[in-house]
Symmetry: C2
Subunit: 415 residues, 2 copies
């Protein structure tokens, strides 16, 4: 098998260094590199200062076969990246006609006047291979220098991602002989990382050395990522399928999807398949369940709407919750959340109603019902199912977890 190609990512820009923005580019880049079999060994973030950039480039070139540089290409920032690359390679800047034509067209289309600053965006280091950027005015550049490939990209995430996806990643795959890498993600919900690890321990220990397993936990979920390395793409795909088939019986109903599935997209898919309309009644989540569903394009086919019944009055007026239920059991109780789910179903005339009621915190807790006490419910024509959640102290975390667990309870009922 070919040897591992090593990469480093260098991010240029004061705004990242001083903490004004969070850098999400390098995370995205290293994920993509991992996916094609290139190992990121270091990430460096430096300011708009030539000497510092030069030393970062020099260091990186001694360690890695691929150096990816993002940022410092804007027209206002003195083009620090291009000047510094010229100094690093010992070359001058020349105007690239293709790049100039592209920038000219970009401005003509928008009816905007072009300045000298804009024209200078077409000046590239002599040894650069110009890589066309169809998504903005900063050029993509590729340098093959002393057995190291240097790639320069704009820092704007949308331009950077497009250039990487459509130009640089295919070119890297051509340039280097790399192992074939395939991934399969199994998405689980409602089971903790250590419990999951215990359940699948024997299976995990028996994995062949060319298939690695990673646990990726997030709020209420654990993703299992299988990475297979080899030479035969089809063969690896089959092996991954076999491994998934072997582990599934051990995890059972906790698996809600694969690869890029999200719990909300899975639930919406199930509702579409069964031709069911959904209504949502939210107390402690305050609109988060509806907002999570609404983020998915085309949700209107299965989502009629909902009621955010933050006050008891709204629970009575808009959901038809019985005031006596509220009086006897309180808003955060199994009877109330059941009536909310059933109420929204009746009021909005939907097939399914789901509901949340709880104490998200930081205030409002009592000895009987401490912060984190939450009830969720799913009402269908077959009846109402409820669940009691005992969550923690943090408001935003409680809202996120309740949303996830409610969508999962709905998924279980739809199966």
């Amino acid at each position: 098998m070919p040897t591992t190609i090593r990469a480093e990512v260098i991010t240029i820009g004061d705004e990242i260094l001083f903490g004004q923005i969070i850098d999400t580019n390098t995370q995205w880049i290293s994920t993509e590199l991992t996916n094609i079999g290139i190992r990121t060994v270091r990430k460096t973030s430096v300011g708009d200062e030539a000497s510092v950039i030069l030393s970062a480039l020099t260091d990186a070139a001694t360690r890695s076969e691929v150096v990816i540089i993002t940022g410092g290409l804007g027209p206002t920032k003195d083009d620090i990246t291009k000047k510094t690359l010229c100094e690093f390679f010992g070359v001058g800047l020349v105007r690239n006609q293709t790049a100039l034509d592209l920038v000219t067209t970009f401005f003509e289309k928008r009816g905007r006047e072009m300045t000298d600053l804009n024209r200078m965006q077409a000046d590239l280091p002599e040894n650069a291979e110009y890589i066309q950027n169809d998504w903005g005015t900063a050029p993509g550049m590729w340098f093959d220098h002393d057995d190291t490939v240097f790639i320069s990209l704009p820092g704007v995430p949308f331009e950077m991602k497009s250039l990487m996806t459509y130009r640089m990643l295919p070119k890297l795959k051509e340039r280097f002989e790399m192992p074939v890498i395939r991934h399969k993600m199994i998405r689980t919900i409602g089971i903790g990382e250590s419990f999951l690890a215990e359940r699948i321990e024997a299976w995990e220990d028996a994995l062949p050395p060319h298939i690695r397993l990673a646990y990726l936990p997030s709020f209420g979920q654990v993703k299992l990522r299988l990475t297979a390395t080899g030479t035969d793409n089809e063969q690896l795909g089959l092996e991954l399928e076999r491994q998934v088939a072997a582990v599934l019986p051990l995890i059972g109903n906790h698996v809600y999807g694969y690869d890029s599935d999200e719990i909300e997209t899975v639930v919406i898919r199930l509702l579409k398949e069964k031709n069911l309309m959904l209504g949502v009644a939210e107390s402690c989540t305050g609109g988060q369940v509806a907002a999570t569903l609404t983020k998915v394009p085309g949700v209107s086919a299965v989502f009629a709407g909902g009621v955010v019944s933050y006050s008891n009055e709204v629970k009575i007026i808009a959901l038809g919750v019985n005031p006596e239920t509220l009086g006897a059991f309180g808003a955060v109780s199994e009877p109330t959340v059941s009536e909310m789910a059933e109420g929204v179903r009746v009021m909005l005339g939907t097939d399914v109603g789901i509901a949340t009621s709880g104490i998200a915190g930081p205030d409002g807790g009592t000895p009987d019902k401490p912060v984190g006490t939450i009830w969720i419910a799913v009402a269908t024509d077959k009846g109402t199912v409820t669940k009691h959640l005992k969550l923690g102290q943090y408001r935003e975390q409680n809202i996120t977890l309740t949303t996830t667990y409610l969508l999962n309870l709905l998924r279980e009922q739809l199966l």
Copy 2:
């Protein structure tokens, strides 16, 4: 004035390097360092590999007075950071009794058994100053070595932030003689960065050299951050106040708050001051407005709830929108959004009703009403105010911007 102290941040961990998680720690750390007058000059992210960590430490020490290392302190990861620090400093590991007592108490309190691995968390490099971590079991460590301060922190954000805030930042302020730095953030909404820059150009050009201005744009908002550097804390505060007073008349009503204010907290504060209850009717935002308000603790004093009227039926049933209005003008129209805002006010019996209706995309656009066509409304006892937004192609961005602009329209009406 004292010279600038330079810092580097080294993040240790394969999970960050391979793109499995986004590193938010270093952004937080460099913001905090900037706030006390320390300049971050480089950030480096390396894997769990001793030789790579060693070279990163060596490089950083030659360039900076402060080196902050996060991660690699967990019990399972072979304590790579501590071992490597020992190698770097040429010292051995010794068990620290205070650290051991703390870990022991931590486990006793939770009724969990302690293993040898846990006990080893109390082993520190001989030259380490132990810094008590009251938020977890990994130790904080401080090293003063050859005029450079090395700080080692766990990678868990909550533990890292607590240790920095309560232990390390005060200690850094003591250790180095630093200039006094004060910040003032002016938060604006509804005016683009370039328009804002034009309006305040003369004021900006006249700023004294020790007061710097940064534009921090985000969805629909631009924050203006003033940073004053000097020696007299009180004097700087007065100067900043004077500059804010001078620029305010140029920006006018676009300023919604200062420093850590958010548009939703400002709106909630205004509602509390005026003792008004709010109801929300959402179509295209699908719950996002309600969810944004609900994230703020104590919102129940002014927020009764809302209706997510995704379908036309729900607009009629739950908000009392006239079917003839929907028929004549469509759901995305000024008359419909007005009736939604007025309807939620009547239905939920609140003082104020606010509403959104629009085409968030990617589907549903027509030549007359392309994707991004959105109406928002605020209804009070004085009448109803509406606004037409022409936004872009991206669903999530449209939902976020609509939420921000609606809360701002509400703010304007409350003033």
